[in-house]
């Protein structure tokens, strides 16, 4: 078993899939020769050739367009959007074309495209290198939406995404690329080396889409989270001695509703945490589902901890980014009689 960062785990998944399936190709801005600005596609071009891992013009709409065309004509493209903040020029191709192709053609055509894109904040990236746009895509029927929180999952989930015959948007929280992050930006950087989820097999394996992982069992409150917030919530709970059950959703569409229901029915309380802005965020959907399905088991109001309804700020990043303290406040609020 090797120790890997998320970057190395993503890279390993791509290498495995390139070896197993010659219809898999990877492309994006700086994603060919250079191996991506985060190095996730490093070594692919050198090993497999520039026809399989190549650079593209700087046009996300074009990248999405060619990915769809390749996908409908027998390839399994993995397209990289350099930052999730820049996915919007491709939005029409993703939501009107890619997501609807199978449906609108009566099942005649489909395109098994995986879109990899770094998301989220915590890197002093300001509002154009920090966004978490997952809700736009969870709202579009036909897309699957995946977000990883550690190297082991990153590899297994990415392999499942590439093998999936439906289009998948695969979010990679960039603050977690090189190490887990508990929300304390004043602390020294931690690497994945010492984390159990940093142990990643070199060989092929997959983790099914649509399955959450309960990363901590507990009895008093359920915390639903994904991406970087998994680590912030875990630290908040550990540091404050709370008997919380933490669920890393891993796949937002399709959601693991059974895991959510079982946990909330057990604990009777629910806190939802995400980085994206609150209004119409994915937390709103989670709240609705928990309310609809677990209402009679709830012992307190469901709480949300989210980014504020502002653009993602630069200098005031740590006033925006959901903190351990805010998570604890929300837990306390739902525990009050």
């Amino acid at each position: 078993m090797a120790q890997m960062s998320i970057i190395q785990a993503v890279n390993s998944a791509l290498h495995n899939m390139f070896e197993r399936d010659e219809t898999v190709v990877s492309f994006g801005e700086d994603a060919g020769y250079y191996g991506g600005v985060f190095r996730c596609t490093a070594g692919l071009q050198e090993k497999f050739g520039k026809h399989r891992a190549f650079d593209t013009p700087l046009a996300e709409g074009g990248i999405m367009g060619i990915a769809i065309g390749m996908g409908m004509n027998g390839l399994r493209p993995v397209a990289e959007i350099q930052f999730a903040d820049y996915i919007f020029p491709g939005f029409d191709q993703i939501t009107n074309e890619l997501a609807k192709l199978r449906y609108r053609s009566g099942g005649e055509y489909s395109a098994p495209v995986t879109i990899r894109t770094p998301c989220g904040g915590g890197i002093k990236g300001g509002h154009y290198h920090s966004q978490s746009p997952e809700a736009y895509f969870t709202h579009t029927p036909g897309l699957k939406v995946v977000i990883c929180s550690n190297p082991y999952d990153a590899k297994g989930l990415l392999i499942s995404s590439i093998e999936c015959n439906d289009p998948v948007i695969f979010f990679e929280p960039k603050r977690l690329y090189n190490g887990p992050f508990d929300g304390d930006h004043t602390a020294a950087m931690v690497k994945w080396d010492s984390h159990p989820k940093g142990e990643v097999p070199e060989e092929y394996y997959s983790i099914p889409l649509g399955k959450a992982e309960t990363i901590r069992e507990g009895n008093d409150v359920t915390i639903l989270c994904y991406g970087t917030m998994v680590h912030v919530a875990s630290a908040a709970v550990e540091n404050n001695g709370i008997d919380a059950e933490i669920i890393d959703l891993r796949t937002l569409v399709p959601l693991d509703i059974d895991a959510i229901e079982d946990s909330v029915r057990k604990t009777g309380r629910c806190v939802i945490v995400h980085e994206a802005p609150r209004t119409s965020g994915f937390g709103a959907e989670l709240m609705s589902l928990v309310q609809e399905r677990c209402f009679w088991h709830l012992e307190g109001p469901i709480q949300r901890v989210t980014g504020w309804d502002t653009p993602y700020p630069h200098s005031l990043e740590w006033d925006y980014f959901p903190s351990q303290a805010r998570i604890i406040e929300a837990v306390q609020a739902t525990m009050e009689e």
Binding site: G61, I68, G69, Y103, G106
Partner: protein, 400 residues
């Protein structure tokens, strides 16, 4: 601030400036020429049929009379189909329709110059591709009625055909998205080392979209084996072509991308066929993409939902200096002594009969008024390969 206006609007008399470039003017370049070498044709007009209905010049594809008669038959059948379908729409037996009057040669010439294995990703006015590739009219009509025999299960408005067997990709309403997709499909052929190509169409109004430029740029960069076609039919609903760009030619857009580009008389079947043949062979041989501007005229409304008499001159199509594609091919065949008015009238009658019969048969699978439509159960199918729990649950709410 400058805002361009069309040369004429409703109530006016329009004689759009005819192209004084004679048939046979342009020499045909080698299929491996540089994009820049096509510059004169990008600003000019590739024509084969002259004013005396003769095929002249380098671009004459030299087709035999039987092939020409086939082309004419396809165009006459499409026209009869369109007329019938629009009539049915007016009677309320279709929800919506779009004719391609005046543009029949654009799709027939293209399809006849390609092989069926070549992927086509059209816009909504290339129904001719389906006729040439041999799709059943009953199935086409069933789609337009959205009855139980509609292969896209009633999910799309009429004329949004999909036919995988014929390598005809599902049409979507957002305009222009198909250009970069065609480039991607072409890249997949190149990736596998196959010599099939992809071909896609959009209107001159759509050439203002980013996707048009994404498509051209990506095609140029990867030298994708594709043919990209701008159908310049002068009008995007009520928006005249002079609002779509500030230049004299849409084909000229390809030159700065170093894409071989030419403007073609879209009313001249022989020119359309020859240009597509050249571009297709160029792409197959690995010499890269071609941009074709089909210079044509939208002879009828945009769709069944608009009335062109309130935004453009009523006589424009009759006055179109490049004429009508059916009339011109017919005249050419007659000039060759290979066709006559009797045979033409018989062909028209035969096509109308075929379509009436096909319509009748299609309605045995359901009518717009009474169905049967695709079963409600299909509502939740094909969103994903397998229905996830939330769709199964919603299916349960409907009780299916």
């Amino acid at each position: 601030m400058h805002v361009p206006v069309p040369p004429h609007r409703e109530g006016g008399t329009s004689f759009p400036s005819p192209h004084d470039i004679p048939a046979g003017h342009h020499a045909k370049p080698a299929i491996d020429c540089e994009g820049a070498e096509t510059r004169d044709m990008a600003y000019g007009l590739v024509r084969v049929l002259n004013d005396d209905d003769e095929a002249v010049g380098d671009w004459d594809p030299g087709l035999d009379a039987e092939t020409l008669r086939q082309a004419l038959e396809h165009m006459v059948r499409i026209r009869a189909y369109d007329d019938r379908m629009m009539k049915m729409q007016r009677q309320g037996r279709l929800s919506f329709y779009m004719k391609c009057l005046g543009e029949e040669a654009v799709s027939v010439g293209a399809a006849m110059a390609m092989e069926n294995r070549d992927i086509v990703i059209p816009s909504y006015r290339q129904q001719g591709l389906l006729f040439v590739r041999g799709r059943s009219m009953v199935d086409m009509i069933s789609h337009c009625i959205t009855n139980s025999n509609d292969n896209v299960k009633g999910r799309q408005m009429p004329v949004h055909y999909s036919w995988k067997e014929g390598n005809f990709v599902s049409i979507s309403s957002p305009v222009g998205t198909q250009f970069p997709q065609a480039v991607g499909a072409a890249m997949a052929f190149a990736y596998r080392g196959e010599d099939s190509i992809a071909c896609s169409w959009l209107g001159e109004g759509t050439s203002a979209q980013g996707d048009f430029h994404y498509g051209l740029n990506f095609a140029s960069v990867y030298r994708a084996p594709c043919v990209l076609v701008v159908v310049n039919n002068q009008w995007a609903i009520s928006t005249h072509r002079n609002l779509a760009h500030g230049g004299p030619s849409f084909a000229a857009r390809g030159i700065p991308y170093d894409v071989a580009s030419m403007r073609v008389d879209g009313q001249d079947f022989l020119a359309v066929y020859a240009a597509h043949k050249w571009a297709t062979e160029r792409a197959r041989a690995g010499h890269g993409p071609t941009l074709l501007e089909m210079y044509t005229y939208r002879g009828d409304s945009h769709s069944s939902s608009d009335d062109p008499s309130i935004y453009r001159p009523g006589n424009e199509y009759d006055s179109w200096p490049l004429g009508d594609p059916v009339d011109r091919l017919k005249a050419h065949l007659m000039k060759l002594g290979e066709w006559d008015d009797e045979r033409h009238a018989a062909l028209e009658e035969q096509c109308t009969k075929e379509i009436i019969a096909a319509y009748k048969e299609a309605e045995t699978h359901g009518t717009l008024k009474d169905g049967p439509f695709p079963s409600v159960s299909t509502l939740f199918e094909d969103v994903y390969e397998k229905e996830p729990w939330h769709l199964l649950e919603q299916r349960g709410e409907v009780g299916i």
